[in-house]
Structure formats: structure tokens, C-alpha cells
């Protein structure tokens, strides 16, 4: 078990290095000199050269890469070429906002999907199961941004129950924070929940067909109890995989949702930086998203070990 864990940590580190190289290389080959962009087309060659030297852009790529990684690892990514502000605190603020969105969205998705998926599987031959199935199918078909716009139209503009957009840090005004969080989280969570529901349904259906569930019933367990005691843990294995993939799509989905609800999250920062050609910030944000995805995958691998004793190996 320890050996497996160490291996997985090694894999995580290697993939972090590889992805950082990829992100850096991709930004490096992009046409457009950051210094030129920062100063505008009218700036003189010497001014541009001076700025290049100031940013360290005249150094070899390897040196640039290393100092970038060093900045990330020490939580001091330096200053932006464009806004000349410290990137670190900005990233931390924005990350916090996005984590609230994604975290709450994921929790809502699970709260919706777990009972719905199980119910749909257990009743898959009955009308109630089919109705739920059709509902979730509709949910899958709706993109998050469309759901967001619809929710704004109905609950903010139409009924006026909730604010249409904006963001307030929870420490500043917890009530307003929650009010503003409801609609974006709903639009993220419902769509993800619909997708997750379908995966949970099929995972539970697979488990319902397993021999060990028949064994459980042959022991005298009623169907629902057999499913809860013997099925759910086994059904969790494929669902956890999907959950990890979904977290990645949620991060991307948050980019769009932050735009719709005017939320200053990582996604907004990314889009702003792209349009400002603030390449160093783009690079940092992309790397943070990549790290988040890799970290989630690492956690999922670790969760597998907890769920399925067969993966632990060598314990007999």
C-alpha cells in the first residue's frame, strides 16, 4: 500500500513537471513578444530591449523556465508585464472565488445525482425511472451557460428573488455572498449533476447484475439493503473516475459561468489576461488549472485504494 502511494506521488510529480514544460513551451512559441505587446507598436527598439531585459526575456528559455517554476513553487510568481501588479495575491484571490464555485457546484451535483442515479437504476423498468431518466437526459443537453442565463431570466429578472450577478467575499457579507452564489452554483451543479446521474445510474445498474448482489439476496437481504451494503461501494469505483473528469470540466465550465454572472474568478482572470495579452498571467492560470486537474486525479487514485482492496495488493 505504501509502495503504491509512493509510486503515485512520483507519477504526480513527473506529470506536474511535464505539464509545466508543456505550458511554458506553448506560451514560448506563441508569436508576439510580451515586451512589444506591453509597450505598444510605437515603442522604440531600445525601450523594448530594455523591458525584455527587465523581465528577463532575453535569457535562455531554460533559465526563464526555471525562474518561472521557482516563482510558482515559492508562491511568488512576480509581477505582470501589463498591469505591473503582483500576480501572487491576485491569483490567490481569484482561485478562492473559483474554488467556492466549483466546490459548491460539485457538492450540489453529488447531492442531486447520488439519490437520483440510484433511484433511476433501481426503477429502470418502471415509469418513474423512465421519467427521471428523461429529465436527466434533458439536463445533460443543456449547457451550463444557457442554464445560467435561464436562471437569471427567471429568478433574478422575472421574480427578483436573487441578484443576477456579482460577487461578495463571505467575510464581508455572508448573506449577500450566499445569495449571489445560488444561481451560478445552480447552473453549474444542475448540469454536472445531470451528467453524473447518468453515470451513477449505469454504475448501479452494472452492480445490480453482479453475482455478489444475488449472493447477498440469497443470504436473505432485501434488495435495497443488499444494494446499499454490497453494491454502492463497488459502484463507487467508476463513479469516482467520472467525478474526477467532471471536476476538470467544472473548472472549464466555471470560466464561462464567471463571465455570465460577472464573478471575479480564475476564469475571468484567464479571459481578461488573454485579451490583454498578459501572457505571464495566462501561463500561471493555465498552470494552476493543470495542477488542480492533476491533483484531483492523484486524489482519485488514492481513493481507489481505499475503496477497492484488490488494488492494494500484496497484503495477504
Amino acid at each position: 500500500m505504501i509502495v503504491r502511494l509512493v509510486k503515485r506521488i512520483a507519477v504526480l510529480l513527473v506529470s506536474l513537471v511535464v505539464s509545466s514544460v508543456l505550458v511554458f513551451a506553448f506560451m514560448a512559441v506563441l508569436p508576439g513578444d510580451p515586451a512589444r505587446v506591453a509597450l505598444g507598436t510605437s515603442a522604440s527598439e531600445t525601450a523594448v530591449a530594455q523591458l525584455r531585459e527587465q523581465f528577463g526575456l532575453d535569457r535562455p528559455f531554460v533559465a526563464q523556465y526555471l525562474s518561472w517554476v521557482h516563482g510558482l513553487v515559492t508562491f511568488d510568481p512576480g509581477t505582470s508585464y501589463i498591469s505591473h501588479t503582483e500576480i501572487g495575491p491576485q491569483l490567490a484571490d481569484r482561485l478562492q472565488v473559483t474554488l467556492w464555485l466549483v466546490g459548491a457546484g460539485m457538492v450540489l451535483a453529488c447531492i442531486l445525482a447520488v439519490p437520483m442515479g440510484i433511484l433511476m437504476a433501481v426503477r429502470h423498468r418502471r415509469p418513474s425511472g423512465l421519467i427521471l431518466s428523461a429529465l436527466s437526459q434533458a439536463g445533460v443537453a443543456v449547457p451550463a451557460f444557457l442554464a445560467g442565463i435561464l436562471l437569471i431570466t427567471v429568478f433574478a429578472v422575472g421574480l427578483g428573488w436573487l441578484p443576477a450577478n456579482g460577487w461578495t467575499p463571505p467575510a464581508q457579507d455572508p448573506v449577500l455572498f450566499l445569495k449571489q452564489l445560488v444561481l451560478p452554483v445552480l447552473s453549474l451543479g444542475m448540469v454536472q449533476g445531470a451528467v453524473l446521474t447518468r453515470y451513477i445510474r449505469s454504475a448501479v445498474l452494472d452492480v445490480l447484475r453482479e453475482d455478489y448482489l444475488r449472493t447477498a439476496r440469497a443470504k436473505g437481504l432485501r434488495p435495497m439493503r443488499a444494494l446499499v451494503r454490497h453494491g454502492l461501494r463497488n459502484a463507487a469505483v467508476p463513479v469516482v473516475t467520472v467525478l474526477a473528469l467532471q471536476l476538470a470540466t467544472l473548472l472549464v465550465g466555471a470560466v464561462v459561468i464567471e463571465r455570465v454572472f460577472v464573478i471575479p474568478g480564475l476564469g475571468s482572470l484567464l479571459l481578461d489576461s488573454v485579451s490583454n495579452r498578459d501572457l505571464i498571467v495566462v501561463q500561471d492560470v493555465v498552470m494552476i488549472i493543470a495542477m488542480a486537474v492533476l491533483l484531483v486525479n492523484f486524489l482519485v487514485d488514492t481513493i481507489y485504494l481505499m475503496i477497492d482492496p484488490r488494488l492494494r495488493g500484496g497484503s495477504s
Binding site: 423498468r125 455478489y212 440469497a218 432485501r222 461501494r233
Partner: protein, 359 residues
């Protein structure tokens, strides 16, 4: 109608609605059918198993023997429906169409089952000790977890698992197929069931461990005076484990009787073919082993009349109507218009379990 092999045909179905016919009858199956959509997969199956009796149910794949067993357990797959009557001694209701609440009290306590595939029959994410203890706790035959765990260790010792005290804390994947089947057997025997249903319990095992597991099953039911319904397509296994045998084909019982009698003097043409196909010493003039011509039709596509007539060399026009059950003794009979003659039959030796010697 195919009457009960072991009871007077005329009274068989009449008594089917009530309690078992005789005091020592454990399982009474009357007029059992299994249908899906409009198709009949099992039809008019009647039999009785007495206390401590070990009965084999043989036939090719698709003959309906597993469905018969699952009907008794009330565990038919979704969409399949059982009709008729299945009564168990000491249980006040019919097992066919009983609701889940009632059936769950019977399963694992009065009737237990050993399945064919030990590799998938156990929950891979639960320690085997807990899987055994569960069947004791569900039926409250042990008051608490600690005593159920102690009982699980004891049961694992009974089924001959090495180091049972450590085995309770192992997961199924840490055992071989044979060992897992022992665990499944321990679960099945835990509550001393009145009837043990075995669905090809040794088929998936290595030949070297088949005989040992078979021996454990037989000893387990003997020790508990449990009755056993043993499903297999292996005649040698039936000859080793059972006293009585029923031959199923096309969803019907076509012949039944004491093992010795049926295997040495089969009357039904299908039984004869099955025994011939199991004889690995007899070859035809081209040096080939005997087989039954043709193959088992898909479920519900058996011919009308005698279900075997499209594969039978002796079939005539008479076989287009359904043959009546011909009783040949208190526990035996067959349903065939052209039975193998009673005298002058080449006595086929009872197949013996060839693995027994190696075990």
C-alpha cells in the same frame, strides 16, 4: 402434465396447494413453470425432496435446470415469472409469488444456495468474515458481531480453509477459486438450512479441487440433515453426490429415479444419449466419442409434443403429441413414447467421479 416423479401422479397437483404431502417432505414443487413474455422456459415441473435427501438435476445448458433452482430461491432474473407452487416445510406460504419481505426471511435461513461462479459470487470489497457473519446477523441466529465473527471462524474451519482465524480478515481476491467456493459454502451452511440448492458448484473449479469441494458439500448437508438439490451437467458428480436424479430437457423433467437405476437402465432416449455422451471409453467405428445429434434449441423454441423429438433417432409421428409420464416406481418414471427397452439394454456403468482419486 408431467406428474411428480415420486408421488402418485393423480394426487400430485391436487395436494400442491396445501402443505407438503408427507411429514418428512422438505420441498414440494408442483406444476412449476417459468415464463418470459409469452414463452415457456420451464413447464410443469413436479418433484418432492425429503429431509436429508440429495437429489440431482441434470441436463444440458438451456434445459431449464438453473431456472428451476432460481424459482425455488425466488431469485429469477428481472422479467421472468414463476407459476405453480413451491412449498417448503415449516414455511407457511407458497414461495412462488411470495413478497420480498417473506422471501428474505426464508432465503439464507431455510433455503441456501451455492452458485456456479465462486470468482464473482463474493463481494470483492468486503472481508470474507463479515460476509459470513452477515448471514448470521441478518437472521439473528447470532446476537452480536463478536459471536457472529467467532461463528464465521468456526464455519471456515468446517469447510477446511487453512488458518480460518486469519482468513476472516482477508478479502475474496486473496483466495483461489476453490477456497472462495468454500467461503460461499460456509455462507450457505451457516444457518443450517433445511434445503441447500447447488447450481453447478464445482463446474468452474479446477478438476483437482472439484472432488474436495464436492465432498465438503455432501458432508456439510449430511452433518445438518439438510436436503439438497444439486444442479449439474456432470453425470459423474451426480453419481458421487446424489441418491436420486431428475433429467431435464426443454424445460421439462423427462426422466427421474434413483441414480443407480437411471444411469444403468435409462428409459428416456435423451437420458440414454446423455449417458452415452458422458462415456469417454465408448467410441464409434470411426473412433469418435458418442454425442447427441443437433444442439439444444434456444429457450422457448423447443418442438411441440415431445421436446426432444427433433434430436431423437427414434422419434415418430406419435411424438408430436406430448408423452405422458410413465411411473416405473415410487420415485421414478419417464415421459417417452419409445423408451429404451427395459431388458437387453447394454448396461452402462455408472460414471464415477474421476477426480475423486486425485483429491
Amino acid at each position: 402434465m408431467t406428474p411428480a416423479p415420486d408421488t402418485a401422479p393423480a394426487t400430485a397437483s391436487a395436494s400442491g396447494q396445501g402443505s407438503p404431502d408427507r411429514p418428512d417432505d422438505v420441498l414440494t414443487v408442483r406444476n412449476l413453470g417459468v415464463t418470459v413474455g409469452g414463452r415457456k422456459l420451464v413447464e410443469d415441473v413436479d418433484f418432492t425432496i425429503r429431509a436429508g435427501e440429495r437429489v440431482g438435476l441434470i441436463g444440458e445448458s438451456g434445459s431449464g435446470k438453473s431456472l428451476t433452482a432460481l424459482s425455488v430461491m425466488g431469485l429469477l432474473p428481472d422479467g421472468l415469472r414463476a407459476t405453480g407452487s413451491v412449498r417448503l416445510a415449516g414455511v407457511g406460504h407458497d414461495l412462488v409469488d411470495a413478497d420480498e419481505a417473506r422471501m428474505s426471511r426464508v432465503r439464507g435461513k431455510e433455503i441456501a444456495m451455492v452458485f456456479q461462479e465462486p470468482m464473482t459470487a463474493l463481494n470483492p470489497t468486503m472481508k470474507v468474515g463479515r460476509q459470513i457473519a452477515e448471514v448470521l446477523l441478518v437472521h439473528r441466529t447470532r446476537p452480536d458481531r463478536a459471536s457472529a465473527r467467532a461463528a464465521a471462524v468456526d464455519l471456515l474451519a468446517q469447510v477446511g480453509l487453512p488458518d480460518p482465524a486469519a482468513a476472516v480478515d482477508a478479502y475474496p481476491h486473496q483466495f483461489s477459486g476453490g477456497q472462495r467456493q468454500r467461503v460461499v459454502l460456509a455462507i450457505a451452511l451457516a444457518n443450517d438450512p433445511a434445503l441447500l440448492v447447488c447450481d453447478e458448484p464445482t463446474t468452474a473449479l479446477d478438476v483437482t479441487v472439484q472432488a474436495r469441494v464436492l465432498d465438503l458439500i455432501v458432508r456439510g448437508v449430511q452433518d445438518r440433515r439438510s436436503a439438497m438439490l444439486f444442479i449439474t451437467h456432470d453425470l459423474a458428480v451426480v453419481a458421487t453426490a446424489c441418491e436420486r436424479v431428475m433429467v431435464m430437457y426443454g424445460g421439462r423433467v423427462v426422466e427421474s429415479g434413483p441414480v443407480q437405476e437411471v444411469f444403468t437402465r435409462p428409459r428416456h432416449r435423451y437420458t440414454r444419449g446423455l449417458i452415452g455422451a458422458s462415456d469417454l471409453t465408448a467410441v464409434d467405428d470411426r473412433g469418435r466419442l458418442a454425442t447427441i445429434p443437433g444442439s439444444v434449441p434456444p429457450a422457448g423454441r423447443f418442438p411441440a409434443g415431445c421436446v426432444f423429438r427433433n434430436r431423437c433417432a427414434h422419434a415418430t409421428e406419435a411424438c408430436a403429441t406430448r408423452p405422458d409420464w410413465v411411473p416405473t416406481g415410487p420415485d421414478s418414471g419417464y415421459a417417452c413414447f419409445h423408451p429404451v427397452a427395459e431388458s437387453g439394454v447394454r448396461g452402462t456403468a455408472v460414471p464415477t467421479n474421476q477426480e475423486a482419486g486425485r483429491g
